[in-house]
Assembly symmetry: none
DNA sequence: GTGGTCTAGACCACT
DNA sequence: GTGGTCTAGACCACG
């Protein structure tokens, strides 16, 4: 898990995004234990406070579950995870295509660009694929 | 030109983005006249103050030029426009592919999704294509 | 006895509340034997440690009594039970009415709502009534 | 608006409850301006930070709307307010009746107790009544 | 040791 | 002046 934080966006939102990705990509397995607030904060080099805020958001979205005094776990609801993943993907793709279309790019251009990214190895890693 | 503003981001940044798109997509042709601050502000339903700030940003990036007495025009430097357009496109594509890869999507998945968007007509409109 | 535990409140407090109710409603009769810590813990699906803490609280409030060798019993002091019951009831009613009043509800509204609950059978069960 | 805070519950939750009441009872009229974070914090004698947290919750529940840099307003969606109010009332009443029933109180007892509260003037104030 | 809450205080971007 | 973010650090209840 890489904690690459930029300063053009609230940190806690970036943390939420990264944690979400970790769950959706399967890096954080369903039902598995989530590191403690302090550990995660240390990893991301952030105040425990800030990390806590991100974790709270994760709980609200139902991806994490907190057991009052015995740590957090990733939800076991794999269906929910998969559904959320599809939503995210489709939403992202659509928003992106709209942006590109707005700048006068055709679908074929886009496909070419994606293939270019593939050759650059951007897609290498844990590929789950679409169901 | 549609002025669709959300409240989860600074308004002036959204204005800049939309104006940039208008230039890069050719909707605002090189060398053509830019509407007055008041008109634009009225169109976007924003205070002239905020629009002014967006226009200033457009000048700084060199896409708009002010002629003290005769209003603003889009730059005639087509090369610059094209260059900026390419930068934007590549940056967007890369960031996007990275996000998708982070969620376990393969390049082939992406291409399929883009084609799906094409069939939905998202790419219909003023297509300039890549040079 | 239903052990319905939520996770938005300390577990042991919920246990205390449920045990108290069992005594005040007469489900645990005055002078009767209280199940062992292990049995109760098993019933409530809680670690004996937590249940123990709840039982301690019950002793402090005088509703349970421990006889070193022969386990626990419910107090025989019916007067005390009845007094506590009245306190609980009045406190609850007042707090509740204050909340409702805060939301602009009249006493007549409340009575109507209570009657509605009655028809729904919420009050069915062991009704002792007020003395 | 009285800010009566106890220490047996997280402060920010109490703030949320009070703010909600203020909206549901009509004290904070639909569409009206909400005092600034700092003002509210000063009123409630709480850190702006804590108040902010409560306000955030109010926004998430849709009762408040924040206009990025120009303050907050109560939602204008009176229907939503009324609906939420009914939900709250019914939920509260049911939970309460269940508690009372658990202690062996009959519906008639409850009605008598409510009437007693009425005579004590607990219901005096801004009475909207049920629709 | 776990999550959670709160304070005090600073800083920033926006309008 | 508005809302928002973040830090640093302390404290608490729970199991």
């Amino acid at each position: 898990m890489e904690w690459e934080l930029r300063s053009d966006q609230p940190v806690y939102l970036q943390l939420v995004r990264l944690l979400k990705q970790a769950v959706l990509s399967g890096e954080y397995a369903p039902g598995s234990r989530v590191p403690s607030v302090r550990d995660l904060a240390a990893q991301a080099k952030v105040t425990p406070n800030t990390m806590q805020r991100a974790l709270q958001s994760m709980e609200q979205s139902g991806l994490f579950e907190t057991h009052r005094t015995s740590g957090r776990t990733v939800t076991q609801d794999v269906q929910k995870i998969e559904q959320l993943r599809c939503e995210q993907v489709q939403q992202s793709v659509q928003e992106f295509c709209r942006t590109m279309a707005g700048m006068g790019i055709t679908a074929n251009d886009m496909i070419a660009l994606v293939e270019q990214c593939e050759q650059e190895g951007i897609f290498d890693g844990n590929n789950i694929g679409m169901r």
